[in-house]
Symmetry: C2
Subunit: 198 residues, 2 copies
């Protein structure tokens, strides 16, 4: 089962930023944790997982981190931020261009990104969504999440037009990376132990 995790970084800087102040770069720390939690487990990478960050703090750029080919990524925020900074230095075009192993950049928007995900069940994470613990199935999923500011109304329309459903994972409001950890856990239990729905 393949998994794609997409975050909307409402103010995440698409130009140069300092590794010493990730929160000041439009909460780049949120994006770093999201990417790390999407791809990493203890002492390893999830080969079947991809993280995509749509960065809107400046001329829009989107970054894609692919677990099957990423190299040199460790879980600390500063390391992930270094990979992001390097990727942002490349020219963003209409296509995905690989800047470093497993890391791609483009100027695609959320609509185009979702349109590429053929065969995936696209789910939008929102607190009032259906409990994903109860509806998870053995299949390929793409999840779309907002950062600490959520998702703008326009962008939410773009997402909902393409989404197969709206789900939640917790009765309380969590950070995006925490949602990713729980989504992985639900699917890990489902796929490895078999039929672990609540």
């Amino acid at each position: 089962m393949k998994r794609v995790f997409i975050i909307i970084g409402n103010k995440a800087r698409t130009s140069e930023f300092s590794l010493n102040d990730l929160p000041g770069a439009g909460r780049m720390d949120v994006i770093c944790r999201f990417i790390a939690q999407s791809l990493l487990v203890s002492h390893g990478v999830r080969k079947d997982s991809t993280a995509i960050a749509v960065l809107l703090g400046g001329p829009q750029k989107s970054l894609k981190f692919k677990g099957d080919s990423i190299k040199y990524m460790s879980p600390d925020e500063r390391n992930v931020a270094g990979l992001i900074r390097k990727a942002l230095k490349a020219k963003a075009t209409d296509e995905w261009l690989e800047g470093s192993p497993g890391v791609y950049v483009s100027r695609k928007g959320i609509g185009e990104i979702l349109d590429e995900l053929e065969g995936y069940r696209i789910l939008y994470l929102r607190e009032d969504g259906e409990d994903f613990h109860k509806v998870a199935e053995e299949r390929d999923y793409a999840f779309v999440l907002g950062d600490h500011l959520g998702v703008s109304e326009n962008m939410e329309d773009e997402i909902l037009k393409r989404a197969d459903g709206v789900v939640s994972v917790s009765p309380i409001s969590l950070q995006a990376d925490q949602c990713v950890v729980i989504l992985h856990n639900i699917l890990d239990r489902f796929s490895i132990r078999g039929g672990c729905r609540v």
Copy 2:
């Protein structure tokens, strides 16, 4: 329901370290993420949660972060590391001394720390443990986890002597902070929605 999360930082530095190289400080980044995930949710702090880090990279020091009184903590690693660095500057004694709001330091070892947790069900996290999704109850819990190096045999004996059980949360090997996110989710669902065991 109160929750305590304890991590053993096998090499985490108890002397001065650089905020620009947390992995180089005995994987202090692991400790930072653990503390943040124990205490923080979206835009808020879990008042009922406490994080304790037993740091063994140097003369032993233990740090306690209490959700009911912590201030000035944001989820990025560098911010948590700043709080740790400040706490480590205080003299560690046999008692818990509050260095900054909600942050305590002592030279207590894991045995003493667990002995203080009267009324808590103490659980040790290990991959071969019982599935916590299936056995969670509505009560106060203290969870003990290793860092990326696990827990030494001697220390594990200390823990098991006092633990009420050994549990796991995932069929695959996860990072300590990922386990914390899942433990919270299990208990959140159990306490708020009622009876959500798998």
